[in-house]
């Protein structure tokens, strides 16, 4: 069973990494990182924070572009364009198909992250050599923790894409739902803060409602927990517990989404 899932993952990976879009996205991200070196010249202070912020943003943006333009093509368009017939005519169960696609997409995201992290690290090394004084507080460990957290967000976001692809037959709808999920996931923490406050002070909410809000913010995808740009740019130490907690959150959330996607897709017809 694992062999089959792996063979489909490799197929998905090869199809994805050879897509022209990935080269475009890669070049765009590299250009953004190179711009860091130029942009730093315009700043008078906190150059380390600017460099870290631009590089982490470039990685996130490239990840988003890969997710929205490539991942969606790899499953939703598979169904849209009937390429799925070529896979499903082989002895694959629907669940194996869904998992194979997801793991293949994760291979692509991992590769993209590996390349982008290497390039961004190189940019920061150059910046560090140019402006040594400004990078005294900079911490590589915190930087890589932020990259890892960003990767976890894409693990969850791509599970959403697989889930939406398994319930709709239009790649456009999958794209729309995924963008909405991303926006909702990024803003949910602000909504919670808003709900818990009144006129700038803490709102008087019953304990039950407080608890409901706390639970709901994690049941709905809380993608902002994966955004550690501020911590990385200020070299704020993040405890290992936090990393373990968000890793568990991403794994449980993606696992549930994938099980739901497998169940939905097993019932689905492919006319």
């Amino acid at each position: 069973m694992l062999n089959k899932v792996l063979s489909l993952s490799i197929l998905t990976f090869l199809e994805g990494v050879r897509d022209r879009a990935i080269f475009g996205i890669g070049l765009f991200a590299l250009a953004m990182m190179s711009v860091t070196l130029v942009v730093l010249g315009f700043f008078m202070r906190e150059l380390d924070k600017v460099a870290v912020d631009i590089n982490l943003s470039a990685i996130s943006l490239a990840g988003l572009l890969v997710t929205f333009f490539l991942s969606i093509n790899l499953m939703a368009k598979d169904i849209d364009k009937r390429t799925i017939y070529c896979v499903m005519s082989k002895p694959f169960s629907r669940a194996q198909y869904v998992w194979g696609k997801y793991i293949g997409i994760l291979f692509i995201i991992s590769t993209a992250f590996a390349v982008l992290t290497f390039c961004s690290s190189l940019t920061i090394v150059i910046a560090k050599m140019q402006y040594t004084n400004w990078f005294k507080a900079f911490s590589w460990i915190e930087y890589f923790k932020a990259v890892y957290a960003s990767f976890l967000m894409f693990v969850v976001l791509n599970a959403f894409i697989i889930f939406f692809s398994s319930i709709t037959s239009s790649s456009f709808l999958t794209l729309l739902f995924s963008i909405c999920t991303y926006i909702a996931g990024q803003t949910i923490e602000e909504v919670v803060i808003y709900l818990k406050s009144a006129n700038g002070q803490e709102a008087q909410l019953s304990e039950f409602i407080q608890k409901m809000i706390d639970i709901l913010q994690y049941i709905l995808p809380n993608l902002s927990v994966f955004d550690l740009k501020v911590q990385a740019s200020h070299a704020i130490h993040l405890p290992l517990d936090y990393l373990l907690a968000i890793t568990g959150y991403a794994a449980i959330y993606s696992g549930i989404l994938m099980i739901a996607a497998s169940l939905m897709f097993s019932r689905r017809e492919l006319p």
Partner: protein, 244 residues
Amino acid sequence: MAIIDLNNVSKSYVSGFLMRKKKAVSNISFKVGNGEILGIIGANGAGKSTIIKMIQGFIRPDKGDILIDNNKPFDPASRIKMGYLPENPYFYTNLTAVELLRFSTSASGMPKQLADKRIKTLLETVDLYPHRKQRLKTYSKGMTQRAGICFALVHDPQVVVLDEPMSGLDPLGRKMVLDLILDLKAQGKTILFCSHILNDVERVCDRVAVMDKGHLRKVFTREDLGNQTMEEVFLHTIEERSEC
């Protein structure tokens, strides 16, 4: 012994804003025996592709049963020994023919050495071996169709389902595919063959099923044709039913 067994199968599609049900096939029953070639002929929209999609497990029948070598089509086991060529094969265009075929063999659990040998033989048979390292997006329609035939046959299936296998092929390509089908027949493979090119069906099939507007109108053998051509029998069957 029947390898493909359809028993009273019906299927409707829901379409439009009012979710109206449209019957695609009604009460279809037929069997395809081991080593037999059954051709399904019919006009566009007769329900040929719907039957094939149900056999492949892409869609479920609303009523009736389908068994492929005693397995339900939704069971992946039913597809271990089955090869399928869709009407318009769409493949992953960034892959090469060899990569696509390797995927097929590994998904079917074929040993690598045997798979490599089989891939080479098949690509040579359909004249794609010189283009084996080219990406599929550079292939013409005929080349894609030939790659599709290789994809359906590479894991050496016992049952082969071909939906319009001559689509997009030039006369040479058509001859090549017909020879391939006859070769499969000589090897004792069971073939379900859907086409609206009646001459091709006449040449290779042991039995022919005529479909019209979702109904199975008639099943006849080559011997039943007598002095008539396939086209005459087909038109006569359709006209006869229209008058009824």
